[in-house]
Symmetry: C2
Subunit: 201 residues, 2 copies
Amino acid sequence: METEPPPTSGPSAAKRPRNAAATREAILRSAVEAFTRVGYDGAGVRDIAKAAGVTAMLVNRYFGSKEQLFTEAVDVSFAPRTVVTGDPAALSRDIAAALVERTAPEADHLSPFLLMLRSAPNPRTAEIARAGIERHVERELAAMLTGEHTDERTALALSVIAGVWLMRKVLGNTALIEADPERLTRQVEAMLRVLLDPESD
Amino acid sequence: METEPPPTSGPSAAKRPRNAAATREAILRSAVEAFTRVGYDGAGVRDIAKAAGVTAMLVNRYFGSKEQLFTEAVDVSFAPRTVVTGDPAALSRDIAAALVERTAPEADHLSPFLLMLRSAPNPRTAEIARAGIERHVERELAAMLTGEHTDERTALALSVIAGVWLMRKVLGNTALIEADPERLTRQVEAMLRVLLDPESD
DNA sequence: GGGCAAAGTATACGAATGTATACTTTGTGG
DNA sequence: CCACAAAGTATACATTCGTATACTTTGCCC
């Protein structure tokens, strides 16, 4: 009873027949997960491969090296642009709400910010992450701002966002974990508003 | 013939006669430097020992293990409490000014925030750093605040500070590096003021 | 239906890791 | 002056790392 009608284009193929593209994608997804959870230096190619159901050498066959795999993983992680798209007036509120929600203690979002924070110690991967954030996030967010020095204000906003990710999900700061989400959202929103809102004068 | 002064490439490790306390301190200083520059996992005990002018085994003799060495290094790094002490009204301004100055491109401050950021990927050292920040920084800063939820607002302020350290000195964000220091200071100050200043209503 | 390239695996290598055990050097007190 | 403990070193061990080389298995097409 070896029924094998393999849909060559299935997003989540359970029993995977020999399919280079699907295997490559499985490795890439496994890499995003691993790099996000333990960072670049903490994730071994053997672990990544095993979680994808293959051996370690396929990583190098398909991606050349661990570092090139990381480069693609950064793109994948930053790609799903969930940049809150709406009127610029609600920007601060939307960002604050999404941030507090995704960094909640019970959530385990595979955030690109986590990938970046945990891969930042390595200078080479830090540079790759910096380029990824600039290419995928910084540009779009800056385009939504009005007024002067939009790139600078954007980078400061990203600093705040990364800082909250760090304290809540990487370090596990007690005060920020136990904080009331609504009040926390209001405080973050107030800070972002100083940066992002169009100056009313 | 005194032909052996070269290995002491440390800061001020002159000709050190056999002195347990001095050696211990040299190792500890070297550890702070190494952990700050490359993080816990990136720093090998051999490197730390060599920079202190001794062999690797002295690290374990004096500190038990690399992890215990890190614990002491965290305390040393966070100990020089430069928390701007002044009237609470100027708190935001002082913090912002010190932050922007120390994260300037030309500065290479051995900041505890750098130590924390670069050792955060490792869960064990992340916890040690979290405890250190809570013990050394969070308490004192929270005590300077008035109003409600001082611990929460303190943690948020530390998020901002850590985020700026990350973007400017770990990632190397272009916009924040090239930004005018005075304007950057004003913007950071404005954000902190939202959090720290006594509500005037 | 049989070959043949593609997909995947096995093994190994050299370097680096933290640290345990055993050794050597040296300052100092009786 | 000289032993003896303290200070410091040398060597080794067991892992783990990324990846290179050589091998085996499989789907597909003529």
